[in-house]
């Protein structure tokens, strides 16, 4: 196929993704003087960040005076089972209060304490009440604030409903990307001097997920194909509480805020089963523990009628529930015909978040390919083996800003990258791979292949994994890869807003993520955080300080262990220190 005509658009910093991380990066880069272009698959303001409900974690000690960045750091590291990038965890804990207050100065509105400070709610595995929130719509508040800030910041432009399908390099560094517009299938070649990936996670490779159609792991796949290293890909988070019934809404998130506000988990016998799994923290244990507990109860035959656990908040006053959890109240009433002020909810684990992703430098978010940066869910390191609730929103703000700053600086030092000569053959090959499904009207349906990928991952890489199953899953994913390579669009050959064609490309991203997950999970022969193995049920000391790194080689995907550098003494002390427990009576 000859080279398709495309429009060329030039900028300094290209940002992929318009969720919290992408917008925060765009604002930072523009404020540093760069021209910034944000490219996103959906409309502006619809990114997955809107789904974040509970709040943003920041040690502002507005509610518990004992809180400090050290405690937040320690909680994050312990939650991540110590395989986190400790420098990222330190920066995150130190800087998130400033990022939250800055958001307020940009117009964000948070719930208040009686003294008029930002209120903070308790959340799983956070020692102190730490989550700044507005009801249960914190993500929406965050994205709307950043969206308005971004569109009113000079130098920021947004291209909506545009999907990047290949990163382009020149002279060994990132120099652009090529994309198609969803509306008409036309192509755009972006030239840039630095590129920030902020494209979110890959939850869509599972059948039951809280993620939207967008979460197909594009960023990790693009980075991998460009030669960047991925890290901790075996670590995906099952959120303990997704809706289970009716079938149509299965997987939709039920905020941890319900438990933060006192919600209690019970099995079908009415037993508060968390007593048996984490007597101290109970429902507010870390997500990996609660998710596995619910899973175990269901497997032991103590599940609810639709295969989950009961989550009960009815002991709270109806008005309180409606104020603090308004969208949960609405969601259950509308979608499940359940009044949560009177009846318990039925919940079960749902795929929610990828802790793993692009390997980045802690200070700058730089990937291992020059000119490439990553922030937010697509990056890895901060959360280690398990993410604490509320740490994703603070992650977006802290590392979105850092990546944006660094990308702008990079664009200033290396402006020539944006005009360096590109490899035309590489572009042509990428374009013909993208358009090939349109020329195969009789090819296999991408929707069907997607469903099969989801079935394979759900069956072979579930909440508790097993070596031979993972191996079998890997073989299935490789077979699916072969089929996806020659799939069609489901019948239609139009380029005009053709979701079948779009899905055919999404499959490629999902398959890279699925393969990286399975291969890393096979290598990590122990149970740690979100990664549980029935054949290796205990943590293994030899792997306690190891990340698994995924890289592309000539012979395919390779996974290798890498030792984590030891923590400096003052951080190690912060982790080991025993912090006073929070008792609400002391305050207010």
């Amino acid at each position: 196929m000859s080279s398709a005509p495309y429009e060329t658009v030039e900028t300094d910093v290209l940002v992929l993704g318009a969720g919290g991380a992408g917008l925060r990066a765009a604002i930072a880069a523009a404020e540093a003087g760069a021209r910034v272009l944000v490219v996103c698959k959906s409309l502006l303001g619809k990114a997955h960040t809107v789904m974040a409900e509970g709040g943003v974690a920041a040690a502002m000690h507005n509610v518990a005076y004992q809180d400090s960045w050290e405690v937040h750091f320690a909680d994050t590291m312990k939650g991540g089972k110590l395989i986190n990038d400790w420098r990222m965890a330190e920066l995150h804990a130190r800087e998130s209060p400033e990022r939250v207050l800055e958001l307020e100065r940009w117009g964000a509105v948070f719930d208040r304490t009686w003294q008029g400070r930002i209120h903070q709610r308790p959340f799983g595995a956070h020692t102190y009440p730490r989550l700044a929130h507005i009801g249960d719509r914190t993500g929406l508040e965050l994205i709307r604030t950043l969206q308005d800030r971004a569109v009113h910041t000079e130098g920021v432009d947004v291209h909506m409903e545009t999907t990047v399908f290949k990163l382009l390099e020149a002279d060994g560094r990132i120099a652009g990307a090529i994309a198609y517009r969803r509306a008409d299938g036309s192509l755009v070649l972006y030239r840039c001097a630095a590129l920030v990936l902020a494209s979110g996670g890959a939850g869509k490779m599972y059948r039951v997920t809280s993620n939207s159609w967008e979460s197909t792991g594009d960023g990790t796949a693009l980075a991998y194909e460009a030669g960047a290293e991925l890290r901790d890909m075996e670590m995906v988070q099952f959120h303990p509480t997704g809706m289970v019934w009716p079938a149509g809404v299965r997987g939709i998130l039920v905020t941890e805020g319900v438990r933060g506000e006192g919600g209690v988990l019970r099995n079908k016998d009415g037993e508060r089963f968390m007593e048996r799994y984490d007597q101290e923290r109970m429902e507010l244990s870390s997500r990996d523990v609660v998710a596995r507990a619910i899973n175990s109860e269901v497997l032991a035959g103590r599940g609810t009628p639709h295969g989950g656990a009961f989550l009960d908040i009815t002991h709270r006053k109806p008005d309180y529930i409606k104020t603090k959890l308004p969208s949960m109240y609405e969601q259950f009433l509308k979608l499940a015909n359940v009044d949560i002020t009177k009846q318990p909810m039925e919940v079960a684990p749902t795929i929610h978040y990828a802790m793993g992703g692009v390997r980045v430098d802690a200070e700058t978010g730089a990937a291992t390919v020059p000119g490439l940066y990553a922030a937010g869910e697509v990056a890895s390191g901060l959360h280690g083996a398990n993410r604490l609730g509320g740490n994703s929103l603070s992650d977006l703000l802290v590392f979105g800003k850092r990546a944006g700053d660094a990308a702008a600086a990079e664009a200033k030092t290396n402006p020539k990258a944006a005009t360096a000569k590109l490899d035309q053959r590489e572009i042509e090959a990428a374009v013909s791979a993208l358009t090939a499904p349109l020329e195969r009207p009789g090819g296999e349906s991408p929707y069907r292949l997607m469903a099969e990928i989801q079935d394979v991952m759900t069956r072979y890489a579930p909440i508790v994994r097993e070596g031979s199953e993972l191996q079998a899953g890997l073989e299935k994913i490789q077979e699916l890869g072969e089929r996806a390579r020659v799939c069609g669009t489901g019948g239609s050959t139009t380029r005009a807003f053709n979701p079948g064609w779009h899905t055919a490309y999404d499959l490629r991203s999902m398959l890279v993520n699925a393969e990286a997950l399975l291969r890393s999970a096979i290598e990590r022969q122990e149970s740690r955080g979100a990664h549980a193995r029935s054949d290796f049920p205990k943590p293994d000391d030899a792997q306690a300080r190891v990340n698994y790194i995924v890289e592309k080689t000539d012979s395919g995907m390779r996974v290798r262990p890498e030792k984590i550098a030891p923590m400096p003494g003052f951080l190690a002390q912060a982790v080991q220190h025993s912090y006073a427990r929070y008792t609400p009576e002391e305050i207010e």
Partner: protein
């Protein structure tokens, strides 16, 4: 649930700006199915190129707006069980059609750019202390901040839908936006000239249709538009003030 039906005849508008028609698809019904599930089932099984926007599937992002049996609603929040054996889904009418259920809503984003953003006082900006606000003051704007930008209110507004006065009136969504800024405890900018001028709040004649279709139950007319109209009227159309303005010293405020 009123009736147990096993199949649904889902009529979906198919076509683009040049023209199109309703196409009927038979969809097997599952318990608890919403309209978006049915549409996506059609897409996966019968019409691979059916264009539809959706994201969160939990009524939080406001992407899947459409007219369901003539009423503007979110497809992800509309249960099939509310309808009989057939239901018709059309794209929003107030915006130019791109394809099938997808419309060009970019005008809304242009409008948003024209509204001066959140502007705190010099004093608030210069202090290094974290701001204090009271919950009561926060509660006042909370309702407006719930907006998920589904644009259903814009779709139903007759000023935009029937009279296509997009150049004269920003529409209900942006009255809510302006209200959220004007009533923000820390905002000090005066947007009344904007309301009277380009935003065109005077075009609203309070039929409250927008309020009726809002999936977030924002009292758009009662709590946003009417108070904004009052503020504008106070400044520009109060006869007593007009006289005072003529007699008294410059600018009574």
């Amino acid at each position: 649930m009123p009736t147990e039906i096993s199949n649904l005849d889902l009529n979906i508008w198919r076509g683009d700006a040049k023209g199109g028609e309703l196409v009927s698809y038979r969809v097997p019904v599952r318990e608890g199915m919403v309209v978006l599930d049915a549409v996506l089932w059609v897409q996966a099984n019968l019409a691979s190129d059916l264009a539809v926007r959706w994201n969160c599937k939990a009524a939080k992002c406001g992407s899947c707006s459409a007219e369901i049996d003539g009423f503007p609603r979110l497809m992800c929040k509309t249960s099939i069980a509310e309808y009989g054996a057939s239901v018709t889904v059309r794209p929003m009418k107030a915006f130019p059609l791109i394809k099938d259920l997808v419309t060009d809503v970019s005008w809304n984003y242009e409008v948003n750019k024209q509204i001066p953003p959140f502007t705190p006082s010099e004093k608030d900006m210069s202090t290094s202390e974290p701001w204090r606000m009271q919950q009561n003051d926060v509660d006042r704007v909370l309702e407006f901040r719930k907006c998920i930008e589904c644009f259903l209110c814009q779709d139903v507004c007759h000023v935009l839908r029937n009279h296509d006065l997009k150049q004269q009136y920003y529409g209900p969504r942006f009255m809510v936006r302006i209200a959220s800024l004007e009533m923000h405890p820390k905002d000090v900018l005066d947007r009344k000239p904007l309301l009277k001028g380009a935003a065109g709040v005077g075009y609203c004649n309070i039929t409250k249709c927008c309020q009726e279709v809002c999936p977030e139950h924002i009292h758009i007319t009662d709590n946003a538009i009417i108070p904004l109209k009052e503020r504008m009227d106070d400044q520009y159309f109060d006869p007593v003030r007009a006289v005072l303005r003529r007699l008294g010293p410059k600018s009574p405020k």
